[in-house]
């Protein structure tokens, strides 16, 4: 009777049932929330450490990649890694409480164990950017995915030329990582911050991020040297305005990099939630050069 004697488990060649190989799919790393810092009313910085020390040291990622973080029974979602790649499996995630998972997360104590899988997605090509001027532009939460490339760049500061960071938030109380601005500036970085609405204490400029960018571009005679790269992270509306200005200042669109947000339920090119036509944002993104973005319908 037993004519068909197929595999009950998966054949070794196709997918191994060894735990380590499956880790790329349903198995995840156990990680501990070692510290939580409130940054604003809605954002917290989570320091997360992969529990197993071998796994922790082996965990590597590139700046711009994300992990899926799971709170068992509550939910799972994609979050950009916001720490330096040299810190391996000691990760920092900055998370805004917006829904089920993230609100729950904002209330868990230190010591909570979460699941981490990844890293997933594409990254900012910081090595290609060496010996160039850099303009990093972030709006709102966009500063979060920008921090990993920034750390990489700061760690090799001498390999880069002029660095400008332009960061805009709705109001001063929403500014993230304020405690680090001083340190960034010590690395000879030109950091300019603008808010939509000032409060009593705010002394800096008020307005849209494009105004700061305009000054920066005017200073360059509206002609960015071809030896310039730009990284742009922020809400979808920001991309058009900012990227158009950069292109008008002669920056080739392959030298502008953006990070796109899409709904993601798998991070592995399977659930299709992040799909834009032929492109899975989780596999071919979230980091894209601007030419690829223009080439995709409904991308921004």
């Amino acid at each position: 009777m037993n004519k068909l004697d197929f595999v009950d488990v998966l054949p070794a060649r196709q997918i191994s049932t060894r735990k380590s190989d499956l880790s790329s799919f349903e198995y995840s790393y156990r990680a501990e929330i070692t510290n939580v810092y409130g940054l604003t009313n809605t954002e917290k910085l989570y320091q997360i450490r992969i529990v197993d020390s071998d796994q922790r040291h082996q965990f590597t990622f590139k700046p711009g990649q994300f992990v899926m973080l799971e709170l068992p029974g509550i939910g799972e979602g994609p979050f950009s890694i916001s720490s330096s790649p040299t810190r391996h499996g000691d990760l920092e995630l900055c998370i805004r409480a917006v829904g089920n998972l993230t609100n729950f997360l904002s209330r868990v104590p230190r010591g909570t164990l979460v699941g981490i899988s990844g890293p997933f997605g594409t990254s900012f090509p910081v090595e290609d950017m060496e010996n160039s001027d850099l303009i990093l532009i972030a709006g709102g939460l966009g500063i979060v995915p920008l921090r990993a490339p920034l750390f990489s760049i700061l760690e090799n500061r001498s390999r880069y030329k002029q660095i400008d960071i332009i960061y805009g938030a709705r109001n001063p109380s929403e500014l993230l990582f304020t405690y680090q601005y001083q340190m960034w500036r010590q690395f000879d970085i030109n950091l300019e911050i603008i808010v939509d609405q000032a409060d009593e204490k705010w002394q800096g400029p008020v307005g849209l991020i494009t105004e700061i960018l305009k000054h920066r571009l005017e200073a360059a005679g509206n002609n960015l040297s071809s030896n310039t790269y730009a990284i742009v992270c922020g809400p979808p509306v920001m991309f058009h305005f900012v990227c158009d200005m950069l292109i008008n200042a002669q920056l080739p669109m392959q030298k502008i990099f953006v990070s796109l947000e899409r709904r993601m339920h798998c991070g592995r090119g399977k659930c299709c939630r992040c799909n834009i036509g032929a492109t899975y944002t989780c596999l071919s993104g979230p980091v894209f050069d601007y030419w690829s973005v223009l080439n995709m319908k409904e991308a921004i």
Partner: protein
């Protein structure tokens, strides 16, 4: 490929040889308003239930490889600690007795995404590996446009494929297991007459395809007509119910949810099939929806199937089975939509 023939009355013997396994095939599940038989794939318990002369099934066999709901993992919870358990949910070997070319082609298309190239899905792949497939030739129905999609015949993805020659079955053999099984039947080499009969039957079948889609340059046309007002008109009709994706043999999109059990000691992570027609499909945090209206979601379904997948895999993610059009309460069919985009008018 090897070809053999065996007498028609031997089909029951073939069934008997395989009946010791879980066996899935087309059977009658009722009749429609007009008294026409309705078929579905389900477990078969006796030869008389098996109706390999079926027209087409309402649902595809998707639920056997991509269950509508599936547990991805379960957790044992204790204070802030937990253990994760993964059950890949792989079935014992299953025999699928009587799949039409379109449904076999649909599985082949799903394989392209779900078994590779990066992060093969072990839940799907495990089930797929354990399938023994017996294909059968079909009689074209008025809503089938598989010929336009190039999926009216199938070249791979089955173990054996049967064509009814009248008094015998013509069988294409594609696996050693199938060959072994057939050795228990009185099989013979096809005669010249059998060859002629086979070709003649295929010609007859070909002439019966009435429904067509003009696919030429479709990827470009979908890009060019991305802003076409035609989509708005279809959008007005579409109820965003997701039935089309539900019955489609190639729609595989899903969502993941997690639940804590009532005892607070265990939790599950579940995947359920979804549809890009449902309103929150592309909604991200903060409530921004990349496809907020039914027109953009309906358009996306076509765009993904006939352009995106085409670009990624050099084929469309549609086998032309026509099930979506048959099931759609708003009467939206693929041939009409594509035709209207080409000609810029929506049929009344």
């Amino acid at each position: 490929m090897l070809f053999k023939v065996f007498p028609r009355d031997q089909l029951e013997i073939l069934y008997d040889i395989l009946a010791g396994h879980h066996l899935v095939g087309p059977q009658i599940i009722g009749t429609d308003r007009n008294g026409q038989e309705l078929f579905a794939f389900d477990y078969i318990h006796s030869f008389t239930e098996l109706r390999i002369d079926f027209t087409s099934t309402v649902h595809s066999l998707k639920s056997f490889v991509l269950p509508p709901r599936e547990n991805l993992s379960s957790f044992a919870l204790a204070n802030n600690d937990w253990e994760k358990n993964v059950d890949l949910g792989i079935y014992k070997p299953h025999v699928f007795f009587g799949l039409h070319p379109c449904d076999i082609n649909a599985l082949n298309k799903l394989d392209k995404v779900l078994t590779g190239p990066v992060y093969p899905d072990p839940f799907y792949t495990g089930k797929r590996k354990n399938m023994f497939i017996i294909g059968v030739n079909c009689i074209p129905q008025p809503w089938c446009f598989c010929k336009s999609m190039g999926t009216d015949t199938v070249l791979s993805g089955f173990d054996m494929f049967l064509t009814d020659l009248g008094d015998k079955y013509f069988v294409e053999i594609q696996s050693a297991t199938a060959y072994d099984i057939l050795m228990e039947l009185p099989i013979t080499e096809p005669t010249d007459e059998d060859h002629r009969r086979f070709v003649q039957l295929m010609d007859e079948r070909n002439s019966k395809f009435t429904c067509q889609v003009d696919n030429s340059d479709l990827t470009k046309i979908l890009d060019l007509e991305f802003q076409s007002p035609v989509w708005q008109e279809w959008g007005k009709r579409c109820m965003s119910c997701g039935t089309c994706a539900n019955v489609c043999p190639t729609c595989y999109c899903y969502g993941v949810t997690e639940h804590v059990d009532l005892d607070l000691k265990s939790a599950t992570k579940q995947k359920q099939l979804y549809s890009c027609n449902l309103i929150d499909f592309a909604m991200v945090s903060g409530g921004h929806n990349f496809r907020p209206d039914s027109a953009s979601r309906l358009k996306y379904r076509y765009y993904h199937k006939h352009r995106g997948f085409q670009e990624a895999y050099e084929e469309a993610l549609c086998v032309g089975c026509g099930r979506c059009g048959q099931a759609c309460l708003a009467g939206i069919t693929v041939p009409e939509v594509i035709d209207s985009v080409r000609r810029q008018e929506v049929p009344k």
